[in-house]
């Protein structure tokens, strides 16, 4: 909000410079920027519009900060005529229009404003129109009370402040036709709406160069009504913004007095008596300011005298043991609010930094946070880098992972998306990761990335669920088997041994159906999936629900004694039909003599025409080791003979 430095200084006269004021306001009141010349941009906080969104209000702040006196701009004024003119005021809903003041002003001379007035308005970003309208705007800037002047000759009988009828129409001062709804307020006469209350005046009753008689009004409205109304018709005005912040009804009279004084000076009008509707007067607020309570909250000792000085400088008045809050300070309602006044006016720079006294306790982290840290550590070590993607995706990017793998049945739409590309919440991590693969493929031959993030979707009951998921993508030669190796290594690191990876057997747009696996716990709870990506060469993806993973991770590890006896390694090469899957032979080998076979690895694999049609060669390396004794060649030979026989029989294999 723009302010004039010279007007501030006029209302709070002192020896301070503009630079010093800017600094002081920044540190003790509001963010302030010097826009050059006479103009300051001061960000009045949303709870301070009632008292501080004006030069007069800020002058109170400045007076408190410099220990000076604020000047009251309003001299005593008595109306020229005691009678109120012929205009009545009726307020239909006093909850929504809490106070309404209206004054008839006759014999005005409309014309351009004096230069000082024009300049002030311009400094504050308002265009000069004519002396009447300019006075109204000036009062808003100086006092903080929005004002409105009607052309009295365009009004029949009097003013009625009522709710608009649904569909009621009005043309605003700046020629915009507006249709109102029944929640909005209008100022009307018996025939027609004259103004959208608190938001904008109407054209038909507006002040023009021909205007001779005025009805000057000053009102106080329910903030919510004005806020909602301005949003409904998408018309934000200086007045509506102020009213939306809920001003003090006390401000209405100050504004009216100041407006009449200026109209007298500038337009030489004849001022009549003011009509007022103010059924429920704002009650005065009395609060305690206990030095002990305030000091305890702030963490700095304040004496009663210090507190008294500060409150008095802000216009608080002592009443016995309590303090009367200035009527415009709608933000002050409790002891904490007073504590803020005390510390900010005395300055945060004087606040000491005090070591908190904390009972010794163990600082903990959510289990899921710990697991995420572990996963990140693992991937970093495995040469996989981390990316973050947006939680938003396009509709057609939902449901591309194997359907239902995470128990989500429908995607979640955003009611007010930023664009069609970001219309839904992601229900899998694949869209972002696949895009990352393509983008990075331009710069790297091999890409390995992971992401840990939330996915969202509706469950079968229609409730929105969010899950924390790990996604991994690899683009490299042999990506799919590398991915499988990564999953194995990861689970090994987490101490998980009992998991299985059967064929996926689920629909997915992004996977090659024959190269996809499901990742399950030994109790067949689905943890995720992995597989080769369809349409991106040499690439693979995996996604794992890490909240489910957390439930089955075995934290405790037990050390297994190292065998004292040497191991014996033998290789087994077999020729089998291409339809035989390595996994089946491997599983068999591992289960024949689990006590003696410590490890079985695939070390060679090839398919070649020379081997014969439909044949492939597979070589396993088998490590034998006993925990009880040194195995003799003879014993190992015997085991090998059994393995060979079993493989031959089961897979119609030819031993090489």
């Amino acid at each position: 909000m723009r302010f004039s430095f010279s007007l501030l200084k006029k209302l709070a006269p002192g020896k301070y410079t503009k630079e010093n004021l800017v600094e002081k306001l920044n540190l003790r009141a509001f963010e302030t920027v010097d826009l050059g010349g006479d103009v300051l941009d001061i960000t009045v906080l949303p709870n301070r519009f009632s008292d501080a969104a004006s030069h007069w209000g800020l002058a109170q702040e400045i007076a408190a900060l410099y220990g000076i006196q604020r000047v009251n701009p309003i001299g005593l004024s008595t109306p020229d005529r005691k009678e109120v003119g012929m205009f009545s005021v009726r307020v239909k809903d006093p909850k929504l229009c809490r106070r309404y003041l209206s004054t008839y002003v006759a014999d005005i001379k409309i014309g351009p404003s004096p230069d000082w007035l024009k300049e002030l308005l311009e400094a504050c970003g308002i265009r000069s129109i004519n002396n009447v309208v300019d006075v109204m705007n000036y009062v808003m800037l100086e006092i903080g009370q929005p004002m409105h002047a009607f052309d009295a000759d365009k009004i029949e009988d009097g003013l009625i402040i009522r709710k608009a009828k649904a569909g009621e129409k009005i043309e605003t001062l700046d020629d915009i036709p507006v249709t109102l709804n029944a929640e909005m307020l209008v100022v009307a006469d018996i025939k027609k709406p004259l103004a959208i209350a608190g938001i904008k005046g109407g054209k038909s009753s507006g002040v023009s160069l021909k205007t001779m008689r005025l009805l000057v009004t000053s009102a106080n409205y329910d903030g919510t009504t004005i806020y909602n109304g301005a949003r409904t018709i998408n018309l934000k005005t200086d007045a509506s913004v102020r009213f939306a912040h809920d001003l003090s009804p006390e401000l209405a009279m100050v504004g009216m007095q100041r407006a009449l004084q200026l109209l007298k000076e500038i337009t030489h009008g004849t001022i009549y008596g003011t009509v007022e509707v103010y059924p429920k007067k704002a009650s005065k607020k009395l609060l305690a300011a206990n030095a002990k309570t305030i000091s305890r909250l702030v963490g700095k000792q304040f004496s009663d005298a210090e507190i008294q000085n500060i409150l008095e400088s802000l216009g608080f008045v002592r009443e016995k043991k309590l303090w009367r809050v200035p009527p415009f300070r709608t933000d002050i309602n409790a002891s904490e609010d007073i504590a803020e006044e005390v510390i900010r006016v005395s300055g945060y720079d004087a606040l000491p930094a005090v070591r908190p006294a904390v009972a010794l306790g163990v600082a903990t982290e959510d289990e899921l946070i710990v697991l995420k840290d572990k996963l990140r550590g693992f991937f970093k070590g495995a040469g996989v880098s981390e990316v973050y993607n947006y939680s938003f995706v396009a509709q057609d990017e939902c449901g591309i992972s194997p359907s239902g793998i995470f128990g989500l049945t429908a995607p979640v739409a955003i009611a007010n998306p930023i664009s069609n590309q970001f219309s839904h919440l992601r229900d899998n991590l694949a869209p972002g990761l696949m895009k990352n693969l393509r983008d990075n493929g331009r710069f790297y031959d091999e890409v390995r990335m992971f992401e840990i993030g939330k996915i969202f979707g509706k469950d079968s009951a229609g409730a929105i669920q969010e899950k924390t998921v790990l996604g991994v993508v690899i683009a490299a030669k042999n990506a799919t088997l590398e991915m499988k190796g990564i999953v194995d290594a990861l689970f090994g690191q987490l101490g998980l041994t009992d998991y299985i990876m059967p064929d996926l057997n689920l629909e997915s747009k992004i996977l090659n159906a024959k190269e996809a696996l499901r990742i399950e716990s030994d109790e067949h709870e689905v943890l995720g999936y992995m597989g080769s990506l369809h349409g991106i060469r040499h690439s693979a993806i995996a996604e794992i629900d890490i909240e489910r993973l957390l439930k089955i991770v075995e934290e405790e590890r037990e050390f297994k004694p190292l065998s004292k006896y040497p191991s014996v390694t033998r290789d087994l090469s077999v020729l089998v039909s291409r339809s035989v899957r390595v996994g089946e032979i491997l599983a068999l080998l591992q289960n024949v003599s689990p006590k003696l076979i410590q490890d079985v690895d695939l070390i060679d694999f090839f398919e070649d025409e020379k081997l014969g049609e439909d044949r492939k060669s597979i070589t396993f390396r088998i490590v034998f080791q006993s925990e009880e004794k040194t195995l003799t060649d003879g014993e190992v030979d015997k085991e090998m003979a059994i393995l060979t026989k079993v493989v031959e029989d089961r897979f119609d294999a030819e031993i090489r």
Binding site: K300, A382, V412, A415
Partner: protein
């Protein structure tokens, strides 16, 4: 069998007698090469009976390994004698080791968590889909009031909630605009005194540019006790920034307004780029706006079921991206969600 035995003794003799490296290489090819004697022996297995295959195969394997070892040993002995002749050219570049890179926000978040944990703060998380109640109402942010306009919100179409995560029925759903709702959730489930921080992703409905994003991350904090004061807050953050930037760094507090705290304030950090002299980064002010904070508003304690006359405490929240941009000198907030490894691999 005899055949293999003779190969073995012949080879061992030859290796033993080898005069130089070249001879060794010839021997390696002769015995272990692709078409070497041992591979030929494997080939010949094909013509043998199954029984013979089973016995001979492993013997050939073993012999192969034995000869490999012998050759290596002999080679080493030459090297030892010849001194530098066979040593590595150590000026060659090191072999590249594949190491993954964590996202800068992960690295920073972890560092921040460590600092707070050292000050006895626990770390908790909360849901990203929130109810209007937790995101606004319980935090004393009034409906239909301009104060709520400080948070531009993404709304979801669904209003009815049955999810276990959310536990409130028939409230409008939204994407949390800050991590502050976790304050309420945590207080409802725990008794003070305590101190926590809450890292997490938040959402704002706004146009993106180099300093604004629709998805970003915050760290929320809350410390509640009988005597927890604003002066304690000042201490915690002097300490925090000293550790985060590894040096003494000035902070200053300014009055501000957030409906869920009173007094409310903003914390500025001395510009790390110019040291407070004024530069482009701090817009010539010498200070960087870092976070909002204040003493928990009594209404917030009431919403959480605490007696505000019994407890007091401070709350704060700051943007992780903002700190990362300052700390790592990153010019554009959109890089964080770009998935660009050229960016990630710098960390």
């Amino acid at each position: 069998m005899n055949h293999l035995d003779s190969i073995r003794s012949e080879a061992m003799q030859a290796i033993h007698n080898a005069a130089d490296v070249r001879v060794l290489e010839v021997l390696r090819i002769k015995y272990l090469g692709r078409k070497g004697i041992l591979n030929q022996a494997f080939e010949q297995l094909k013509d043998l009976s199954l029984e013979e295959k089973r016995t001979s195969g492993p013997v050939i394997q073993a012999l192969k390994r034995e000869l490999e070892t012998l050759l290596d040993q002999k080679l080493q002995s030459f090297a030892a004698v010849a001194g530098t002749q066979l040593s590595l050219d150590i000026s060659m570049p090191g072999k590249k080791v594949a190491i993954g890179h964590l996202h800068p926000l992960t690295i920073l978040e972890k560092q921040i968590r460590e600092i707070f944990k050292a000050m006895h703060f626990s770390v908790v998380e909360g849901p990203e889909v929130e109810t209007e109640y937790y995101n606004f109402d319980a935090l004393n942010i009034p409906k239909n009031h301009p104060a709520r306009d400080m948070w531009d919100t993404f709304w979801l179409n669904q209003s009815e909630v049955k999810s276990e995560n959310l536990k409130v029925k028939n409230d409008r759903l939204l994407l949390r605009t800050h991590t502050s709702p976790v304050q309420i959730r945590y207080m409802q489930a725990h008794q003070p005194p305590f101190q926590i921080i809450v890292p997490g992703r938040v959402f704002r409905f706004e146009a993106t540019d180099s300093s604004h994003e629709t998805n970003f991350h915050q760290i929320e904090g809350l410390m509640v006790g009988k005597e927890v004061s604003l002066a304690n807050f000042k201490f915690v953050f002097q300490e925090f920034f000293k550790r985060l930037f590894n040096r003494e760094i000035k902070i200053r507090l300014r009055p501000s307004y957030f409906p869920f705290v009173e007094p409310g304030l903003e914390l500025d950090l001395e510009c790390v780029s110019c040291g407070g002299k004024g530069c482009r980064i701090c817009k010539e002010t010498g200070w960087l706006e870092i976070m909002g904070a204040g003493m928990v508003h009594p209404h917030v304690f009431e919403a959480a079921g605490y007696n505000p006359r019994e407890w007091q405490g401070f709350a704060f929240g700051f943007g992780l991206e903002r700190i990362a941009m300052i700390k790592y000198n990153i010019p554009d907030i959109r890089l964080f969600h770009s998935g660009d490894l050229r960016f990630i691999k710098q960390f």
